[in-house]
Amino acid sequence: MAYSEKVIDHYQNPKNVGTLDKSKNSVGTGLVGAPECGDVMRLQIEVDEATGIIKDAKFKTFGCGSAIASSSLATEWLKGKSVDEAVKIDNMTIVEELNLPPVKIHCSVLAEDAIKAAINDYRKKNGLEELQFEDSVVH
């Protein structure tokens, strides 16, 4: 199976690989997937407390090229968005942007789940109610 150029580019030059200090209240961490499934994503956001804008985002991913690209792209999209906007990122926009084939859609679902998990972690740390999401359909 051939990868799209965008997937290859993210794989070769991943954006925002790294780790944020998860002890900070301004940092939310989402860890999704499982080693047995061949995909684990950790996505972190750092929120500017004054503006509510995501000022930094980092990821680390264990997985195939599409999983790495999905999380790399997600971190790019997160930066500069408000938390409320970030919640709205839909996995299908990741699929479209990266041209993922059907067998790789689960990579984008995982990225969406990681975003939501990071946001909820941030909300929880800051005394906000965790958002309820419907279970993702494609697993």
Partner: protein
């Protein structure tokens, strides 16, 4: 000089040896006859060529040419060998013993036999990829008609204790079938010394063309018969009808002849390269060899690089190096290799495996390049692996609550 791309997937298929192609060419355009045409020179030439190839093929495995049935490949051979015995020996019994790391062509055929009312015992392998001979013997019942155990495994290259297996089969009056696809042409296989009754193998794994293979069927001590699965003109002593693929068979014969002549020198060269590759890659932290280190084909190495995912790893160099992985990230089930899981490997290690299959044209420069590329990509991906970071922080990944997908 470094030749790119590097092909290290010789367990999947091999390139045709140019000498093989050269031998085949006249049989497409000049001597194109049907080997079953008995009344003109075109047919005679074709028949003569097939007879010669049959001798070349038989010689490689120490068989009599009359014991070679040409097929379309090993999948057909596996089907004909197993289903053919199941049907032919129905009056003796309906039980077959095989193992859980066989190729799908054997496993799916066995599943078919179960649907037909047969009984199949699937032996588990030990962590080194070999079967337990005591378990094998204990599994034999009065109704057992066949033991079907592969000669060597396609994913990890381990070589089964074939002579011990055949001795057990003999002792109990059970036939022994082996899928010899990965072994024939690579290591010495002798149907008499090894006690094999039926064996499937194929040309394209030994530098011959695709679409042609053979089933060895013993004619003496005991005389074995299989029920044909393809009916028609009664070719191949009635066991496999269908016009013979003359150019393919000629190429197969030539490939066998070359393997026989060059096996020793090829193996000596390839095993050195394989060991160099393996030793270098096992120096990478948290890398593990899969399958028995000793009882193994000389050209195969299967290594897991913990905390990186196989398909992601391949992507780092698959423009330049052709390899395969035990990961199955593309399959709908997301299930990693059943062979590696059968060894008792966790899914994480199975997802992290690469299979290296060296071949006749692999060069030392290519191996050096592969070492550098694979080790480099492993390190790069670990830098972006959350699992590697957790491992380095001393977190036991087995205690983590994963959000399962």
């Amino acid at each position: 000089m470094l030749n790119l791309p590097v092909y290290l997937d010789h367990n999947a298929t091999t390139p045709c040896d140019p000498r093989v192609v050269e031998a085949m060419i006249p049989y497409f355009t000049q001597s194109f006859g049907n080997a079953a045409s008995r009344n003109h020179p075109f047919g005679w030439q074709a028949e003569e060529a097939v007879d010669y190839a049959r001798e070349q093929v038989a010689k490689l495995i120490g068989a009599d040419p009359k014991e070679i049935i040409f097929t379309s490949g090993a999948t057909e051979g596996d089907n004909l060998g197993i289903k053919g015995v199941f049907e032919m020996y129905a009056s003796k019994g309906n039980h077959i013993i095989t193992c859980n790391i066989e190729h799908k062509a054997v496993l799916d055929t066995c599943k078919h036999i179960e649907r037909e009312g047969g009984g199949v015992t699937y032996l588990n392998v030990k962590p080194n990829g070999l079967i337990d001979l005591q378990e094998l013997e204990a599994a034999i019942k009065p109704t057992t008609i066949l033991i079907a155990i592969m000669y060597a495994n396609n994913e990890i290259g381990t070589i089964m204790p074939v002579r011990e297996i055949s001795a057990i089969a003999r002792k109990h009056g059970v036939l022994f079938f082996t899928d010899g696809v990965q072994a024939v042409g690579k290591i010495p296989v002798d149907v008499n010394k090894d006690g094999i009754d039926i064996m499937a193998f194929t040309a394209h794994k030994m530098y011959g063309p695709k679409g042609v293979g053979a089933l060895y069927v013993r004619r003496k001590n005991p005389r074995v018969k299989v029920t044909a699965q393809i009916d028609g003109g009664g070719h191949e002593r009635g066991m496999r009808s269908g016009t013979l693929n003359v150019p393919g068979i000629v190429g197969f014969g030539k490939a066998c002849e070359i393997c026989m002549q060059e096996m020793e020198s090829d193996t000596a060269r390839i095993i050195k390269l394989r060991d160099k590759l393996e030793q270098a890659l096992l120096k990478v932290e948290e890398s593990y060899l899969n399958g028995d280190k000793e009882q193994r084909l000389p050209h195969v190495s299967n290594i897991s690089f913990k905390y990186v995912e196989g398909e992601g790893l391949l992507m780092g160099f698959n423009k330049n190096i052709a390899l395969s992985s035990g990961s199955a990230c593309t399959s709908a089930s997301l299930e990693p290799s059943y062979v590696l899981k059968a060894l008792g490997l966790g899914d994480d290690l199975a997802h992290s495996s690469l299979r290296f299959g060296l071949g006749r044209y692999t060069t030392e420069e290519q191996i050096d390049f592969t070492i550098e590329q694979v080790a480099g990509t492993v390190n790069k991906l670990r830098e972006m692996s959350p699992l590697w970071e957790m491992f380095k922080e001393g977190i036991d990944l087995d205690t983590v609550q994963w959000a399962h997908h």
